[in-house]
Symmetry: D3
Subunit: 256 residues, 6 copies
């Protein structure tokens, strides 16, 4: 229920003894169009993780956020900083190794950046195999991926600096949104039935500038605090429910 | 149109000069329940890749398959062999580096094993950044992921040794299927709204034995050559269409 | 002058064009005795970096902090999380590689944790050799290492959770200090002329519990906001003066 | 006696319980002059491994082949694909780690490509030290290296796309040989008493184009199915005898 | 008391059974101005290590020296050879792993090159964590760093090819010093209060040519055998005293 | 003609400008039976390299030796120290990278330890591909491998601590040989037609204790200075001839 960071080691000893799960927020420092802070992904992840931790009471501890992620596809836009995949894999492994040394063998990564998904999933698998630690990955675009299409307009891409992410930002930390810089849809390349969802899906990494001229998707002007609250609440309901099950369900114990 | 393997270097020089894209089949050697060969994933990938290559004529070359993938979650079942993630990342990088040396800068990975998806996506991103080579990832479970639910029954998991994969096997190589060993649904853990699709989605790696007692999903007895043909044809239609676009679309050139 | 995190990419483009140096705060999540937060090192580094960035106006940008460092010697105390050396080396390299892509080739690492010094120095050397980027390392215990002995009492170790670091904490962020938990000197192993300074110096890594029974050094009760302000001001005066020289002195350009 | 690939996991469980040794064929995808397929090395290795496995009955299992090897010296000829050494080392280690998990601690690598020898030997040593698994390396050029000189003509190099390897190809898979493209000896650099055998031996890696203008050695026209059969039979006799001894001899158990 | 190198394995078995600590000399092959051999650092380290080993009698064994270190900042001067940091880290780890296999769990690295300090300290920490082996680092510039300033003249840098190191060379091995090439102070960049000691200290790696035009510091003409003897004796007194304490003090046992 | 180590940087600049090739001696610290020093391999390599360098006059420079090699198979005998393969690969790469920075692109590794052969060959290949540096590997057991069988007795293994290596030691440095400890043939496992030469050859790494109870092969009592001189002279004649050709032959230039 409390961020590990704000505890002394004496307090941490108690908190860790009571806790069953650790939460690690990860995100990115990357361009989010003309109207959102570079910190948007990590700010949203940090706030979602904080609320999740709060909801779980003594059953969880909250680890410090990692503000850097895998954003090589955004390097064409100023201000983007990226790790290499092996670095993020090692970071997650090292932190889980430390958590195991602290008696915690269940970890929830709350991820604010879709670009971290591949590496987090991969890290989780190897951590499970090698360290006896079970790592779950929660990304809002995925956990509430059935709810966001209600806000889609045809012909647009979503889930990066669009009205949906901007709404989440308004709910999580309104200072993320530069409302005076909100603009309508950027010039975007036409949707592609293969590399854009929905429809058939092909993975093809591309520089983000090929998807949007200004780095934003959708129509960010359509963002609202109400949408943000709706989606964040839905994320949290599910995240809490999942984590409670993760804690309690014998079938979700780390592999022997 | 021809497997690189069956060419001499003299023939390869011509084929490479004409080709715009290389196709690499990857899969796994892993348990597929009591009725499918351990080679099922790589056999399906190899056949899908062969047909794709054939459809593309001189525009493509076909590389040899990699029969080993990331299958650590199946190690509890006999016969499973797995690579570590870093090995698969390195393999894909090395082959792409070689292809670039041969003048090919567009690659399609035809992947028969969902467990390879994370690493292939990650490899593609770093290969794009470092080697000036653009790598697309095609996995049947994803490219025709909108078509397979038509065959789902409630309460089951799918896409591994189920009627769908078994049908694909019947179409791609009937010898993969031990029809005398076809059994009804295995004892499976109940579906979980979080870690099973559809619905909210959480990534949580688990030993496959927690999902199915015999290593198979669904009800493999419901497989048929007809379903296999329908799905394989759909996969190929899309794979060909995507690859043609990949070859021709200036917006899909490797990043500078 | 502004944290990169709180800029949009459009603003970042301007800020990066004007800036000559990037500042990266690094620290640790590690035990700091019974009276200081686990976040003490990164909190101090973040605040020192913020003030340094502010003093430099448009000449600098401030990168997000890294809250994890090399703290394996503190793993015996609850709440400590540690990276492995190769991970921190990779992190610094990746961020500098990104900064170079953003046009920045001079970096100041403001480090709040002495345990990160080895790796940061080593990273700086290889980054200089390979990436054409010059990395300076500022650690308060070192930059004002001539001023802190004025507060030493004989027979004690210093610079971790002692009155000096506690004073810095009071100046940087008073909420770091749990004043009700302030206690007198812990039971400590006697000073050793070889592995403790001053005097001859041998490097011998040891579990921190061998140096202090409760994880703190010195007599934290002697900490005061005044000492904190004196030391922080001295650090900043020097850090600003150094960084201005780093920016302007042709002899400090990155090696060709 | 059966390829692991063609078993179900249920069958594999039985086969593994009975088997004492696993066989892994490795080779390359590399130029073999104007008359042999790029797959020649892996095709020969796969066939030799298949026959070896068959001869051993229930005492062995056969793993899938790896069609990629270390062929950087052939990159000057079209169609060559190469791994980097660390990748092949990791591949062998991962597969052996998996085999150990399946209860197999003796492995025979049947290698069709001399260029893989260094790495396979090195991998075998570290696998022995770290994993409790004993790895033997069989390469035809070495195992029957006393028999092939009977077919040598003075002034030629051998063992790559020459009459000897071409004869092996005719025996193992005649479709490897493009008989219409068989030509006499290529222009080759004069033999060198130091870097060519027999005689004193110096290791000096060189692009293969320095040894042969067309990528082939010897005089491939002199190849015959009879020579192929003689040599393959000799290889198999010895390979079977060795492997039986490897299985039975207590002195060849994996190191403790 | 005897170099391991000059023992047979039979003798080594006895020596190792009696010894409590191993000594490893490390140094560099790097420029030392116009008057000192490139081997100066490793030659001094080897001689200091030899004397230390001799003083310890049967309590120590002496390992072979490593003549290569981290000298990338000297690459601008001819004859410098450098390792990369990861290589030195791996070297130290491998040797300690071997020593542990020989029953030795305490190691003293006698280092003649300041540029190796970062990596040796870092290696020592990870070796302690992972291998149950305790590694101490002795560098003369540090162990007798309180004695050398007595020989400093204002306005000069010291500790590389200066009168101090030249004096050590005269004591350790006079053939290191090309007395006919001894020259007065080189043209040096002015001392910098930040990156030169004493005073505030910032770490900023720079090509050595920025510090001295001829690669030497101080005024090597002021070197003398007497200074060398004084300093070497002081180093040895402390090194012996430390190592005896290292051997005997239960508080310096390797971490469990 | 002179060891780089004994030059100043000024002298090294001249020597490097005149030289065409660098020589690096590598060996091992490993058991050599009851009568030879642990340093035997590196001592022989160093002396052979010294003589080769001397014969080449100004055309060569001599680098410092590496006394550690790959000796994991000897770890069962006291005093053996071993590197891991990746460490030796990295060492050779780093030194060659440094030599290229010094203008040298041809390197001769004089190797005194057969166990280093795999890794040195592999390193040479990747260094050639990546660094534009051509690396030749000379090992006495190989370069004069046609001459040593004249001294073989049936039923024995050779080339490690046998009469041949002991003879080389007597010629290179008689202090290597503990003549009072010379004994007759150790109890050895019977020769094996597969894993012992001559005859068919299989690579099977085994603990050396399986080959010889006391760590020595052959009958070391039969060693003589005369045999040593004969073999060393032969080695040198060939090594000089090869290196001259390596220097002069355009066909042996580093690959472009």
């Amino acid at each position: 229920m409390t961020a590990l960071s704000t505890l002394t080691t004496v307090e941490a000893a108690s908190a860790l003894a009571r806790a069953s799960v650790a939460i690690i927020p990860i995100g990115a420092t990357e361009q989010h169009g003309p109207h959102l802070d570079l910190r948007t992904d990590i700010a949203i992840a940090t706030e979602l993780a904080r609320r999740l931790d709060q909801s779980l009471g003594e059953r969880s501890i909250l680890c410090p956020p990692l503000a850097y992620g895998l954003s090589e596809h955004h390097l064409g836009f100023a201000g983007t900083l990226t790790l290499r995949p092996a670095t993020l894999l090692a970071f997650l492994r090292d932190v889980c190794e430390s958590l195991v040394a602290n008696g915690i063998t269940k970890v929830v990564v709350v991820n604010g950046h879709g670009g971290n998904t591949d590496a987090t999933r991969l890290a989780a698998r190897e951590i499970g195999r090698d360290l006896g630690c079970s790592v779950a990955h929660l990304m809002w675009g995925q956990l509430i991926g059935d709810l966001t299409p209600a806000y889609f307009e045809p012909g647009h891409r979503y889930h990066h600096a669009c009205e949906i992410e901007t709404s989440l930002a308004l709910e999580c930390d309104p200072s993320l949104v530069h409302t005076d810089a909100l603009t309508g849809p950027a010039e975007i390349a036409p949707l592609d039935g293969f590399t854009d969802s929905p429809g058939g899906r092909v993975d093809l990494p591309q520089p983000f500038s090929r998807w949007s001229a200004n780095g934003a998707l959708g129509d960010p002007r359509r963002a609202s605090p109400e949408i943000g609250k709706t989606l964040v609440d839905a994320f949290l309901d599910r995240a809490v429910a999942f984590t409670e099950q993760f804690i309690d369900d014998p079938a979700k114990e780390p592999a022997p």
